[in-house]
Symmetry: C2
Subunit: 129 residues, 2 copies
């Protein structure tokens, strides 16, 4: 099938699918008559796989790693679990950081009257030496 159909089936944009071909993440055969990319059913499965992993916040390089484990019949689930646990750690760090930010910002917002006067604790906090 052509890229348009593969794109629809995998629920990715054509641009994305073409990008994945360019970086050799999911690389279909390419006709030497027309130059059109020819996607197989298996290619579509891989595209879907990557789409899912990307939604789980895995980077392209991590997707590449997961994909090679996915394709490897001799893989151990240990490897996959390790990568996943690392990703969870990463998310935890990000969560902590964002929660801290949120607390500070909401503290500032709570102390700002939000009226038509220029006095503003938020700006004061930002201009603190």
């Amino acid at each position: 099938m052509n890229i348009g159909k593969a794109s629809k089936l995998s629920d990715l944009t054509v641009k994305t699918v073409r990008y994945y071909a360019n970086i050799e993440l999911v690389k279909p055969k390419q006709s030497n008559f027309t130059g059109y990319r020819e996607y197989s059913e298996e290619d579509v499965l891989k595209l879907k796989f990557v789409g899912k992993a990307r939604k789980f916040n895995f980077s392209i390089e991590e997707c590449r790693e997961l994909l090679s484990l996915y394709e490897n019949e001799n893989r151990s689930s240990k490897e996959v679990k390790k990568i996943t646990l690392e990703k969870i750690c990463e998310i935890d760090k990000k969560l902590k950081e964002l929660k801290g930010l949120r607390n500070e910002l909401s503290y500032l917002a709570n102390n700002c009257h939000g009226d038509d006067k220029p006095n503003c604790p938020i700006l004061d906090a930002f201009s603190q030496k």
Copy 2:
């Protein structure tokens, strides 16, 4: 003062300070003899202000907006509060998203034996149709 000193005083890298000059976020005078940028005390205060706001996850464009409010004697604190509340909303959305991801990933990880066998619920989830 030159950019090096302004950079140290504001706790930003020279590159960052130069970048802010280029995008006219904090734009110092520039000597027409040597071409060196000449930072004033006030410029440094603005740099620090931006540095703080950036740490609070405000984008450069949002910093530009906050900075113009900061410089505007006739501002109303309402405007600043509005921007801040929007930023809090944004952070809340991101938090929700990340928490969802974390839950799904940790569910998958908990169900993965993490042994030397190829069977892996994580990969199974990613390859689900």
